[in-house]
């Protein structure tokens, strides 16, 4: 009899293990509150939009830093390569490229950018090969990233230390643009 209980306990534990692992692995695929869902609802693909509402509620994103103003755009490398450009500014800014699941593929900040200017190109490996064969002039000063993904999004963050920097930060974010580059 006790062997039977032990057997049932073992089966229960194994089942619990399977459920645990499946839940953990499935959350990124089936969650509806993730950043991709929020950002792709905010604007059309390839359109850069400002995500910094006055309160967390406005964006739906949680755990946002009150000193960080940000914008984002979604892209699909299966359609075209992505180019993200922005004006010149002082102070800290940073960019992260995310895949659809919300993992960071690449990140850079104003120190690692060329001439402190935001000029980023994201390509898939095939577009990368094409680009190497015939490098275009416009991409000379760009940071080029190879990402083996289809859909994804980029997030641009700018630190606003106090209200006096608001105009500069707003203008920097409003000048940022996502573009398709056909290669």
């Amino acid at each position: 009899m006790s062997l039977r209980y032990l057997y049932m306990l073992m089966c229960g534990l194994i089942l619990a293990g399977i459920v645990h692992i499946s839940v953990i692995l499935l959350i990124p695929n089936y969650g509806s509150r993730d950043a991709w869902n929020i950002i792709s609802k905010k604007s059309d693909m390839w359109i850069f939009s400002n995500l910094s509402g006055s309160a967390d509620r406005a964006t739906g994103l949680e755990n946002t830093d009150p000193y960080i103003k940000m914008g984002a755009c979604t892209f699909n490398l299966d359609e075209a390569g992505l180019r993200l450009v922005g004006g010149k500014t002082t102070g800290f800014w940073s960019v992260s490229v995310f895949d659809q699941g919300g993992s960071v593929i690449y990140s850079l900040n104003n120190n690692t950018a060329i001439n402190n200017k935001l000029n980023l190109i994201v390509l898939n490996p095939i577009q990368m090969i094409t680009l190497r064969d015939s490098p275009a002039e416009e991409i000379e000063h760009a940071v080029i990233i190879e990402a083996d993904i289809g859909k994804g999004f980029v997030v641009l963050r700018k630190f606003q230390r106090d209200i006096s920097e608001k105009d500069e930060v707003d203008s920097f974010l409003s000048k940022a643009k996502c573009m398709k580059i056909e290669i």
Binding site: G12, V23, D65, S96, S103, N109
Partner: protein
């Protein structure tokens, strides 16, 4: 048996992504960070955590966020208590310090004006001559650096370091984080 298996599995999964789990985390004192949440080698737990609470992690080149839910005595941080945050942070170009309520929302609401700081950053700080600082944290106003809290209940402090070498180095060479000392709770 089936019901127990499913319940235990689901609960443990939920629990493991809610709390500050040890997987992929680094701890410095009471502070915890998940450096791999901003890298493409994030473990499944960290990934599940990111997607379930609609957070955008900081990329390694952007910075690193540390969070604390307890003071240096091991008690949970409470909005009604007063604390002293003292010491220094690892090297970073900028940092910000923000308390969040349990539901992930900031203490400051849209109606608030900016006369009282419910969050602070490194550019607004008064420091001692040796570069260290002290911030009073709590509902009672204090001279010097004061970060206000209000209401009651447990909360979470998030210290975000921007452009910091520790986010990109695997070995953290200089693990200094401020201490959080409880200086009194209302009776």
């Amino acid at each position: 048996m089936l019901a127990v298996g499913v319940t235990v599995g689901a609960t443990s999964a939920w629990y493991s992504i809610q709390r500050s789990h040890g997987i992929g985390a680094i701890n410095i004192g009471v502070w915890t960070a998940w450096p791999y949440s901003g890298a493409n080698q994030a473990d499944p737990y960290t990934l599940a955590r990111i997607t379930s609470d609609s957070t955008l992690p900081l990329g390694a080149a952007e910075g690193l966020a540390f969070e604390a839910t307890r003071d240096d005595d091991g008690a949970f941080l409470k909005l009604e208590c007063n604390y002293i945050l003292e010491g220094n942070t690892p090297k970073a170009k900028l940092w910000s310090l923000t308390p969040y309520r349990q539901d992930g929302k900031s203490i400051q609401t849209e109606k608030d004006n900016n006369l009282i700081s419910y969050h602070t950053n490194s550019t607004r700080l008064l420091r001692y001559a040796d570069g260290t600082f002290q911030i009073a944290l709590g509902p009672i106003p204090s001279p010097g650096n004061w970060l206000a809290t209000r209401g009651n209940g447990v909360y979470r402090l998030v210290l975000r370091l921007y452009d910091t070498p520790i986010a990109s180095n695997t070995g953290i060479a200089d693990p200094i984080m401020p201490k959080i000392i409880n200086i009194g709770c209302p009776q």
